[in-house]
């Protein structure tokens, strides 16, 4: 029974992310959300599985495709939605938008939209923890595209050299925007690149939330015990376009449909039903709860207020002493 409850928790988080983002796409076409909008749909098992294995005191550094990470971390859906609406009730006061969600309370250090740019910051956060003898783990998400950046290689070396408490989570969705993995990498087995820097590495099926959670748990255990960084590659796929502007000329529909057969949400429902019981009432209840949560998030965003233009120059420098 315990296990079933746990599976339902994971299911609820994945459904929340899925429905939240479907709504985001809708709100984007209504121009309530502007700028770039990168959807995580298809990749939910990665964020949910990994973040489930973290503790509240741990730290997350993320990418511009981070709504799923923020929701899985427990950031209120309303503060995320309000941010995308550009309202000052948003988690970044409307200064960041979809790609730059921040939340000190849940130790969520952003939404970084320069590919690879979050890795050095994560190295530093982990370094601070190590120097201050904190028992924290820093979890740094990035995509397969980031692995081609120099910062990835510099950071693997530095993290391994200094034995930092850092979990690198590579969300390998096979495309750096529109460039396929084998078009941009001479070595497509990405975990080998981490291993070359003496960072222990493994790859996991990123469409299987339980496999991700298991892999993350054992990786985090190693990291927390002081063994240094770990590189976890989660092989996944984004079902939607790179962003709302992307006409998807670089991949064919058959490939997308093939991956959709491995949709992590139905896969988890099948897993729950393996013991012969139906999950239908649970799923229906989750869908109802999630729909309500999203409705409230939108209402919160709608009723949010615009930051006064007189405040434009705030937050360039600190308003409080060090």
């Amino acid at each position: 029974m315990m296990e079933r409850d746990h599976l339902l928790v994971l299911l609820r988080q994945m459904i929340l992310i899925r429905r939240f983002e479907e709504k985001c796409a809708e709100l984007y076409t209504q121009q309530k959300i502007r700028g770039f909008l990168h959807l995580y749909i298809g990749e939910e098992a990665v964020g949910v599985g990994v973040i489930q294995a973290l503790r509240a005191e741990d730290t997350i550094v993320s990418t511009y495709r981070e709504h799923g990470h923020a929701l899985a971390r427990g950031m209120p859906a309303g503060s995320i939605m309000a941010e995308m609406f550009g309202k000052q009730e948003g988690c970044s006061r409307g200064r960041g938008g979809s790609m730059h969600l921040f939340d000190a309370k849940t130790r969520f250090y952003g939404g970084n939209a320069v590919v690879g740019g979050g890795l050095p910051v994560a190295v530093g956060l982990a370094l601070a923890d190590k120097m201050r003898a904190q028992q924290r783990v820093t979890c740094c998400f990035f995509g397969d595209g980031a692995v081609a950046e120099g910062e990835f290689h510099e950071c693997m070396n530095l993290a391994a050299l200094w034995k930092l408490p850092l979990l690198f989570v590579c969300e390998n969705n096979r495309y750096a925007m529109g460039t396929r993995l084998d078009v941009s990498h001479s070595q497509t087995d990405l975990s080998k690149k981490a291993a070359a820097y003496c960072v222990p590495a493994s790859a996991v099926d990123g469409m299987d939330v339980l496999a991700v959670e298991d892999a993350a748990k054992s990786a985090i255990q190693r990291v927390r015990s002081g063994e240094g960084p770990y590189f976890l590659e989660c092989r996944t796929y984004r079902f939607r376009a790179h962003s709302m502007y992307d006409p998807e000329l670089y991949r064919n529909k058959a490939e997308v449909e093939e991956w959709k057969k491995r949709d992590p949400i139905p896969a988890l429902i099948r897993r729950i039903e393996e013991d012969g019981t139906t999950a239908e009432p649970d799923v229906a209840q989750i869908e109802r709860q999630v729909a309500k949560e999203i409705e409230e998030a939108i209402a919160f965003a709608e009723s949010g207020t615009w930051e006064p233009v007189e405040d434009l120059l705030r937050f360039v420098y600190s308003e409080r002493p060090a």
């Binding site: 921040f102 740019g117 890795l119 994560a122 601070a128 070396n157 050299l161 937050f315 360039v316």
Partner: protein
Amino acid sequence: MTYRDAIREAIRKALRADDRVFLMGEDVGRYGGCYAVSKGLLAEFGPERIRDTPLSESAFVGAGIGAALGGMRPIVEIMTVNFSLLALDQILNNAATLLHMSGGQFNVPLFIRMVTGGGRQLAAHHSHSLEGWYAHIPGIKVLTPATLEDAHGMLLTALQDPDPVLIFENALLYNMEGELPADAGPVEIVHATVRRPGRDISVITYGTSVWKALEAARGLAEKGIETEVVDLRTLRPLDDGTLVDSVSRTHRALIVDEGWRSGGISAEISARLTEQAFYELDAHVQRLCGAEVPMPYAAHMELASIPQAATIAAAVEGMVRSHG
């Protein structure tokens, strides 16, 4: 005591006073610092706090940002300003931006020191003056200490700042001898200062050029020209008030900057004087800047690329003697 010693003394004080402070960069430990600034500190504070890094500017500057976010007070040393370009993504996109982009949640008390300036025949990859570029970026502070007291005090002040501070140390100053008061401590970083008062013209400059301007002023005094030398000290934020006050007394301004002329800090200062002190000016503002070439190696060519005491004196004399 030298300028170098003054910086080392400040780092030592900071390391002793605050266990959150640590120094990291290329060759800061075992080698003793590329310019010997951190010589001896490894033995005193150990490899955790005097931390040698690999040649990974972006990673260790970014690590400085993360460490600052994580509650530490890192001093990040970049060997030379040209190398800092490898870390520009971290400096601009993260250090200068995170506070704003997070709606005020995450300030970055990062402190970066780097070497700047020419004059040592190191050619185009070690000799430029890019501090004016950095002064373009909102979210950071840019300091250019010309004296021992500022080199020492600005460092201590920078470590108390809640936001990113970049200090540019001109390599020619490291061996400069001087005195540091026994009670030397943090200095204010808000104001420019008049290093020599004079009634005829304001020479506005910073870093090594302050000393060249003072040398020029001594020679000009013998010819009856009284030159005021204003040391900017801080390039961002600029202290408009002191500049306007000075120009309001002298009615002439020459800006001296080792950096390139086009789009440089000298252009910014000139624009501000025009905006704020136009009717005080008896002559148009002039600029003496680095020649617009990548720094050449040959000594005579390098010398010609950078403002010198003689060229400053000639420019001042030309301005004061002409009417307009």
